[in-house]
Amino acid sequence: MSSDHKNRQHGASIPAYMLVAAILVVVTSLEVGLFYLDMIGELMVTIMIVLSIMKFGLVIGYFMHLKFEAPLFTYFFMAGVVLAVAISLAFLTLFTNFDIGDPNVASPPPATPTPYPTPTIAMIPADSVSNVASEDLVAVLIGGEGIFAGKGCAGCHSIDGLEGAVGQVGPNLTKIGTVADTRVPGMNARGYIEESIMNPSNFVVDGFAPVMPNLMSSFNKGEFEELVDYLESLQ
């Protein structure tokens, strides 16, 4: 980018550019080929990253002629690259290797099987939890009830006998396991419940506004199934 830039031999020659282009095409094809070769497993990620860095270097060095520039340009650019890679790696390590918990999940289900059975409504008398603040309630209830309370369902839907589930925005779900079976011809209770959570605006009960948010991104697979199990069990 200096003023004498245009007067000197600039970067590589055209045959060299073509050679670099050919290498880039071959490496990209190799990557796609490897993707469909299902044999090398974990090693593939490493190979892919190495090939990708190779392409990165070729484009920067030759197409962007950084190889032929003053080292200062390289320092400027590589500072950004190194910082970006470091931040990305730190971020990935933080969120994949350590269980720092999900701030959105009030009560993660226990990883090991609990020595006691999942409490049912009958096992938790209303008066035993009536003095517990609703935030604490989430920690008390586990299983489907815990998810129902913890994910905020209880804010809009009421279930008779479930502490804190007194919302009036959406339909009462006390007997949803029975009701769901009759709602849509050809659809069983489970299918109806799943669909109603996955696509809240598909089946809106008369008299209610289509305001339920899509909460799918807040469940993991186990939680989703547990919640559906619980709702289906409400007869």
Binding site: M1, H5, K6, H10, G11, I14, Y17, M18, A21, L24, V25, T28, E31, V32, L34, F35, Y36, D38, G41, M44, V45, M48, I49, L51, S52, K55, F56, V59, I60, F63, M64, L66, F73, T74, F76, F77, M78, A79, G80, V81, L83, A84, V85, I87, S88, F91, L92, F95, T96, E194, M198, N214, M216, S217, S218, F219, N220, K221, F224, E225
Partner: protein, 186 residues
């Protein structure tokens, strides 16, 4: 320019890392996961198109330094056209995803994917506009564009957008959907 590109690395690095962390969040729900949606063959073609546009850009810059205006215009036009073809592939991909039910608000895979590739697409769009401006100015105000550095710097930007895609294609598409099943709830 190189300092700006260094800062752009941070920008895309953060978006890619955020995508990698969140891509599997609820992605398995009704098939809206990377493994179900990402179309490797189609994206391989669009990756190839973008790569070829970088080659065209190199030829344009080379012609600019030789003051070969005809060649320079030809390859600038080729670069812009290939860039537009790439954008068409992306528009098609976005359209397909939305038809399948994945939008930016559906799940974290959708949010991070559309944010990342959307910002990349915006960079490509800006590059196409930049290149077309140089191309048009070479007719309208030849004196102002005779300095090869104008084309060269646009080229740096264009190649940078290409290397960002090299990383996105490898990390998000190939590694991102490798070995994952397209699992459905039912």
């Amino acid at each position: 320019m190189w300092t700006f590109l260094g800062s752009e690395c941070l920008f895309f690095g953060s978006l890619i890392a955020t995508h990698m962390v969140n891509r599997n969040e609820a992605g398995f729900i009704h098939g809206l996961s990377p493994a179900c949606l990402l179309d490797i063959p189609i994206t391989s073609i669009s990756t190839f198109v973008l790569l070829m546009s970088s080659v065209a850009m190199v030829l344009a810059v080379s012609a600019a330094y030789r003051f070969d205006v005809k060649q320079q215009r030809l390859w600038l036009l080729m670069t812009a056209l290939l860039g537009i073809i790439f954008l068409c592939f992306q528009a098609y991909e976005f359209q397909t995803f939305v038809n399948e039910g994945l939008t930016i608000g559906t799940n974290l895979f959708g949010s991070t994917f559309f944010t990342l590739t959307g910002f990349h697409g915006a960079h490509v769009t800006l590059g196409v506009v930049w290149i077309l401006i140089i191309l048009i100015l070479s007719y309208v105000k030849p004196d102002a564009t005779s300095n090869p550095l104008n084309t060269d710097i646009a080229g740096l930007y264009w190649h940078f957008v290409d290397i960002v895609w090299i990383v996105i294609f490898t990390v998000v598409y190939l590694i991102g959907s490798y070995g994952l099943d397209c699992g459905h709830v039912r």
